[in-house]
């Protein structure tokens, strides 16, 4: 072929992405006795999971025996403002404890209770202290445990390898085509089943806690292969990212700071969250400082501090305080733990935060408050999947973790991501392996399809006088930040859609300099197609949903609307064009509905 050779690897299952979900999927598929290839953009162990801080939500009941899967399920649904896929939320709450204990059996060392069991910490929206954790570096412990367990399971790992397109044979996905980052050479993976575990889309925004990898690869691969996406309007802005200095703006400050006693204050020192308790959470939230402070020790007789309302509520509150001129000097809010907990406790519980502020901002968090503000953190929407099997709406394709939609509804609770990765990563590996075993006959990869993808991939090298791909990416980040942020209006969203359209024209002229070996300008040029695709999906879905709910706030439609509470916005691609549809949410069975009838 004109564009050069490619090597071919064949597996029963390939897993794309090696964070928590991808590793767990690969481990499970291998346990089923099928051949597994794990393909990841970065080195093994560097995926975004490594940055997760606070913990893994699981109703182990080690700290509060009253906790159980029903309470966790209920917290998750309420946190998501009831538009979660109920079955995913149920499976997640039921299976998370066993997934955590399994990590322990694979060598993970969580912080302990006094009697030697796994300690659990408080987090936003969770009724009981529920997060298994290791200080504030839980994601590192999780990925390292899965990584070191995984490398002994006979999985073939393809590191620094990027899949550009999925391949289809008739109505089935049968593999993927991409390139090695090191050499720029092409590589074809043939597989009976493909698991997407590629994470999120946060690199489309300017202020984000997400790394360069979060360019919406999996959502786009699925869409282009004919699968449905849902809920793409629901984007989580984590309330507490660093705001100063400018170069670190967006880096995450764990919710564990508030879980461990920290409180938000405005510039006059007031604990403003008491002014932002929504009707929906009034019954379970303390309305005065004394009760809020007592709650940390006595959850039976006190209601939860509003500092730990779900993330969407806290992010909006900080946004409002700043806009009203009550923010901190660099446009955030103060997060104070230094006046509330002893220095030793802070250093022991939050070592990474201590280190991060000390090294990057010259702030000693045991002596001074932090300055924090919202940062784009997570997308609740993603590939539409079957709850039990994680199967996408195209045969042979499965999705787990952040790339999948539905589990978290309109807003994810902190701690529910790591547990999601484990629960649905395992399910994806299991059902992809079973699908591969059942797969009858031959699958063929059409070489014409492959050659056309390869040609498109090399185009950035042959464009003369083209656009700077980094500049296009930066412009997109500005557009999304300004126009598709925490607070949205139809006019701004439509303007964003128009500007994204213009950026697509520019991206078609993006030019890579230099050769194919480890060339970030080429990689950035290629990533623009997925980044622009997910940005467009978020924007169009946000225009469609004319209400405010969770991670989607419309200034022109400020209330939550019950009619929308029964609807998913679905996006699919037909003949190269995006189509939006409003489709009914799966309906929760009566026995689970009764869980929502009690007072709080």
């Amino acid at each position: 072929m004109a564009s050069g050779d490619y090597e071919t690897h064949e597996h029963d299952v390939i897993v794309i992405g090696a964070g928590g979900a991808g590793l767990r999927a690969a481990i499970e598929a291998a346990a089923q006795g099928v051949s597994v290839g794990l393909v990841c953009k970065s080195l093994l162990g560097k995926a975004h999971t490594v940055m997760a801080e606070g913990g893994i939500a699981a109703a182990l009941g080690n700290v509060w025996p009253e906790d159980n899967w029903q309470v966790h399920f209920r917290d998750t649904m309420r946190g998501g403002k009831m538009v979660n896929n109920w079955r995913m939320a149920q499976l997640h709450a039921q299976e998370a404890p066993e997934r955590v204990l399994e990590l322990e059996r694979w060598g993970a060392l969580f912080d302990r209770t006094k009697d030697g069991r796994i300690l659990q910490r408080d987090f936003g929206g969770h009724r009981y202290a529920r997060l298994a954790h290791v200080g504030d570096r839980t994601g590192l412990e999780m990925i390292r445990t899965l990584q070191y367990h995984g490398i002994h399971q006979g999985i073939d790992v393809y590191m620094e390898c990027k899949i550009e397109r999925l391949l289809r044979d008739g109505d089935r996905v049968v593999g993927g085509f991409g390139y090695w980052r090191n050499t720029g050479k092409f590589v074809l993976f043939k597989a009976k089943a493909v698991v997407l575990a590629t994470g999120g889309v946060g690199k489309a925004w300017k202020v984000t806690s997400n790394s360069w990898e979060y360019t919406g690869d999996g959502q786009s691969l699925a869409l282009w292969a004919g699968a449905d996406l849902i809920d793409m309007e629901f984007v989580q802005f984590h309330p507490t990212g660093m705001v100063w200095p400018p170069s670190v703006r967006g880096i995450l400050v764990t919710e564990g700071v508030r879980g461990d006693g920290g409180t938000l204050r405005n510039k006059s020192g007031a604990r403003f969250m008491f002014n932002y308790i929504p009707e929906f959470f009034k019954g379970e939230t303390a309305d005065n400082e004394a009760e809020a402070d007592r709650w940390y020790e006595d959850k039976k007789n006190n209601r939860r501090t509003p500092d730990l309302l779900p993330r969407d509520e806290v992010a909006r509150a900080i946004n409002t305080e700043v806009k009203a001129g009550r923010g901190s000097p660099h446009g955030g809010a103060f997060l104070d733990i230094c006046t509330r907990r002893p220095a030793d406790y802070i250093r022991k519980r939050l070592p990474s935060m201590y280190h991060q502020f000390k090294e990057l901002a010259d702030v000693d968090i045991t002596k001074e408050p932090m300055e924090v503000g919202p940062t784009c953190h997570y997308i609740m929407g993603g590939v539409r999947v079957d709850a039990d099997t994680t199967a996408a709406t195209v045969k042979g394709l499965f999705a787990a973790g952040e790339v999948a939609g539905g589990m978290h509804g309109s807003n994810r609770l902190g701690g529910n991501s790591l547990s999601d990765l484990l629960v649905f990563g395992r399910r994806a590996g299991l059902y992809a392996a079973l699908y591969a075993k059942d797969f009858g006959g031959q699958h063929t990869v059409d070489s014409g399809q492959v050659e056309s993808i390869a040609r498109t991939m090399l185009e950035p090298f042959s464009r003369s006088g083209g656009e700077n791909p980094y500049a296009i990416q930066a412009d997109l980040q500005d557009i999304m930040q300004e126009l598709v942020g925490i607070i949205r209006t139809e006019a701004e969203l439509k303007e964003a859609a128009k500007k994204i359209e213009a950026l697509k024209q520019r991206a078609a002229k993006a030019r890579a300099e230099g050769g194919r070996a480890y060339n970030p300008s080429w990689h950035t040029a290629l990533d623009l197609s997925s980044l622009l695709t997910v940005a467009e999906c978020c924007t169009l879905a946000a225009i469609e949903r004319t209400e405010s709910r969770g991670g989607h706030t419309r200034e022109d439609h400020p209330y939550t609307d019950d009619t929308w509470g029964k609807i998913n916005v679905v996006i699919r691609q037909k003949q190269g064009a995006l189509q939006l549809a409003r489709e009914p949410l799966p309906e929760m069975p009566a026995e689970l509905r009764t869980l929502f009838q009690e007072r709080t």
């Binding site: 590192l140 200095p245 670190v248 090294e359 970030p520």
Partner: protein
């Protein structure tokens, strides 16, 4: 806007050289920010590996003014105004391009380490571990696998012929962590002496000095491993350690 003079290594396995650039920089920037600005404005194909930009993933290791560091955690205000800053790839591993090296040696070593072999659970099917018994191992688990310790280790850096029989400081703390793990029942002493080659380490503590996570690699990891090897393997002492945990300071 102030500018800074940079010397950045450009090249590949076939050779290369430092190239001079002058880059704008803002308050609070780290070296990785400057490299990114350089990429976006002057050297689009400049290869550098990075992920989290928050000191948590260990991808952006480089030698900055000759010192092994994470680019994302090296603030520009560390340097004297007007000073030229040089950025080079970590030297111990084969160069791929510019600032990116082939660190597959480390992944091969990782795979050789005999994994956890679990003891039977308590009667309720779960495990108990006391915090004081895992404090030391949790310190080792802070490792972000930046491989800076491997980069400065004299055995790996200067003795190509020994690489085959030497695991390096990153994996000594991995081994020490497994050895001290309250749930583990595997004896790795042959491996530690043999394939991992702990005897080759002469405790210069270079690894500890460059660790961005401030892990006491030598004192808390390598020296206890060496002591164990010197003691010889005493199954009774070993069993007692497993059951009692590691309580000594």
């Amino acid at each position: 806007m102030p500018t800074v003079a940079m010397q950045v290594f450009r090249g590949d396995g076939g050779g290369g050289e430092f190239k001079s650039y002058r880059v704008d920089f803002d308050e609070g920037m780290v070296v990785l920010d400057v490299i990114h600005r350089l990429q976006a404005t002057q050297a689009r194909d400049l290869a550098c590996r990075w992920n989290c930009k928050a000191g948590k993933c260990g991808s952006c290791s480089a030698e900055i003014n000759g010192k092994p560091r994470l680019m994302c955690m090296t603030r520009m205000n560390l340097f004297t105004p007007g000073e030229t800053i040089s950025v080079a790839p970590i030297r111990t591993f084969p160069l791929i391009r510019d600032l990116v090296t082939d660190v597959s040696y480390n992944y091969e070593k990782a795979k050789q380490i005999p994994p956890l072999r679990l003891k039977p659970p308590e009667t309720d099917g779960t495990y108990r571990m006391m915090q004081e018994d895992i404090d030391r191992i949790q310190e080792f688990h802070k490792c972000i696998e930046c491989f800076l310790c491997q980069d400065v280790c004299h055995v790996i850096r200067d003795h190509e012929e020994l690489k085959k029989s030497f695991a390096g400081p990153r994996f000594f703390i991995k081994l020490a962590g497994l050895d001290m793990h309250p749930l583990d029942t595997r004896d790795r002493s042959e491996f530690v002496k043999g394939q991992a080659g702990v005897g080759l380490c002469n405790i210069t503590k270079c690894c500890t000095e460059v660790c961005p996570e401030h892990i006491h690699i030598t004192d808390n990891g390598i020296i206890p491993l060496k002591e164990r090897m010197a003691d010889g393997f005493d199954p009774i002492v070993w069993l007692l350690r497993k059951f009692r945990g590691q309580r000594k300071a």
